[in-house]
């Protein structure tokens, strides 16, 4: 249930992977301190299963702390964060988001799978993933609830 943090740093680049649930208990200062002297930070949130409303404040604080004096990129986000960023576009203060891991369902065989897609408007028009059965999968949700407009 708790958040798990994995930090990998080399050559001035720090990669931080969070997984689990983000709520008010996220220790922002501890994570930020692990970024140390890195000049570039890539924050991966694709494995964050759930974010509470208090967790949004934690995410905002984390992004602010990691971005202070560093080049910060959100390399990937989960549905939990994508849905919030779709309705609060400035939640992460304009930090670039590269991709989102979103839920897909196959209209032909009903298989469900999550896939990484670019986090941008109309991303699914040309980039919807294919199912193992060969059919093009559909987002298992409304695009406006997961992607920027």
């Amino acid at each position: 249930m708790m958040i798990s943090v994995d930090v990998r740093a080399a050559n001035g680049i720090c990669e931080i992977y969070l997984s689990g649930k983000i709520d008010e208990k996220l220790d922002v200062a501890a994570i930020a301190s692990q970024a140390g002297q890195a000049t570039k930070v890539r924050l991966s949130l694709a494995q964050v299963r759930s974010i509470s409303s208090m967790g949004l404040r934690s995410v905002e604080s984390l992004v602010e702390a990691l971005g202070r004096g560093r080049d910060l990129v959100l390399s990937d986000i989960s549905p939990a964060l994508a849905t919030q960023m779709a309705v609060i576009p400035n939640l992460c203060g304009g930090v670039a988001v590269e991709a989102a891991r979103l839920p897909f369902v196959c209209p032909a065989c009903s298989a469900e799978a999550s896939h990484m897609v670019p986090w941008k408007a109309n991303a699914l028009a040309t980039l919807s993933p294919k199912c193992t059965c060969g059919a093009v999968m559909e987002l298992d949700g409304l695009a406006e609830q997961y992607l920027p407009s």
Binding site: E24, S50, I51, S53, L56, P79, L139, G141, Q145
Partner: protein, 338 residues
């Protein structure tokens, strides 16, 4: 049926020119024991052949001018009778407007409302009318009175309902684990699990931190850093109820403070239509919990007895795909009792 019991049947008026809406309303309201009459013209209200009207359903899609003028016309036709509004075109915004501005206590989107293309031509034929189960449950509560019944009205008869008493932050965390295990035991995962967990957590956090009052009625915990644990007295215990019938999962949180009011609910939900702000700075709540619950639920039901109790119920459809649930939108119901 009331005719068999010898009682004169109660009635419900429907204002709509949308065939599927009239049919759904006739089925749901009729099943609730009401005598239903429809009109496409709000100027015809009150309907001459309808007595003892206990609910008026207004389809905002029939509004030629503003929706609020239509609501006013319905209120004038049936003063003091509970009003329910439904809409399919621009449903989310128009229904929130009806709830927050026109003070309509019951708003229900039509099925298919959220699949209409943005900015596209409104096509009433692509809509199915309000969800029959949602409408049935809402009207039954209007007829029978809104006493805090937990989740039972929203589940198929016989579905087990689980109840947990919560007094502290630790209890809340344990209850959340219990709900997650319950959902996982029914193979609810991914977005369905996330939506349920979010709704349960936000409702419990509101009950623990925002609801408690001092003896003079002022907020007791609202200013607190949410990382600080709180402990309620035994008499102030919160009741969490949850259950699932395979198609629908519902979670209800009832506190004994009755501090929530309609103005606060309208203020929070109004943020959805006005565009959500960033989380409020500071140590207290971020002001987004109710909005986030609204965004994951298919029904959000408030039942408030001022100074005595507040029960908030989130109902989520989980029988089909996550997309199907999102396409249903969110109905909001507000009941107040002495």
């Amino acid at each position: 049926m009331s005719e068999w019991s010898g009682r004169k049947p109660q009635g419900a008026a429907v204002v709509s020119r949308h065939g599927p809406t009239c049919r759904r309303a006739a089925q749901s309201l009729g099943a609730a024991g009401l005598h239903v009459r429809s009109t496409a013209l709000p100027s015809e209200l009150p309907l001459p052949d309808l007595a003892d009207v206990v609910a008026v359903l207004v389809d905002l899609d029939v509004a030629i001018g503003s929706a609020s003028a239509l609501v006013d016309e319905a209120r004038a036709g049936y003063p003091g009778v509970p009003l329910l509004c439904t809409a399919g075109i621009d449903a989310r915004l128009r229904l929130l407007d009806a709830f927050c501005v026109a003070r309509v206590d019951h708003v229900l989107p039509k099925r298919g409302a959220l699949t209409l293309p943005r900015g596209g031509m409104p096509v009433l034929g692509s809509l199915e009318g309000p969800d029959e189960h949602d409408l049935f449950a809402a009207v039954r509560r209007l007829i029978e009175g809104p006493d805090s019944p937990g989740v039972a009205p929203y589940l198929l008869s016989g579905a087990p309902v689980h109840a947990v008493q919560i007094r502290s932050t630790t209890d809340k965390d344990a209850a959340l684990d219990q709900i997650v295990r319950f959902a996982e035991s029914m193979d609810l995962g991914g977005e369905k699990l996330r939506r349920l967990e979010l709704a349960a957590e936000e409702l419990m956090m509101n009950a623990l931190y925002d609801a408690p009052r001092t003896e003079d009625g002022s907020a007791r915990h609202a200013h607190l850093d949410r990382r600080l644990p709180v402990l309620l007295a035994p008499s102030e215990s919160i009741t969490l109820r949850f259950g699932c019938d395979g198609q629908t999962v519902a979670v209800a949180v009832c506190d004994p403070f009755g501090a929530l009011d309609r103005l606060a609910v309208a203020d929070r939900l109004g943020r959805v239509k006005d565009g959500l702000p960033r989380p409020q700075p500071g140590l207290g709540g971020v002001g987004l919990g109710l909005v986030m619950t609204y965004s994951v639920a298919n029904q959000l039901v408030f039942c408030v007895s001022p100074g005595r109790s507040t029960e908030v119920t989130a109902v989520l459809h989980v029988g089909g795909s996550n997309r199907a649930a999102q396409e249903r939108g969110t109905a909001v119901h507000y009941y107040e009792q002495p």
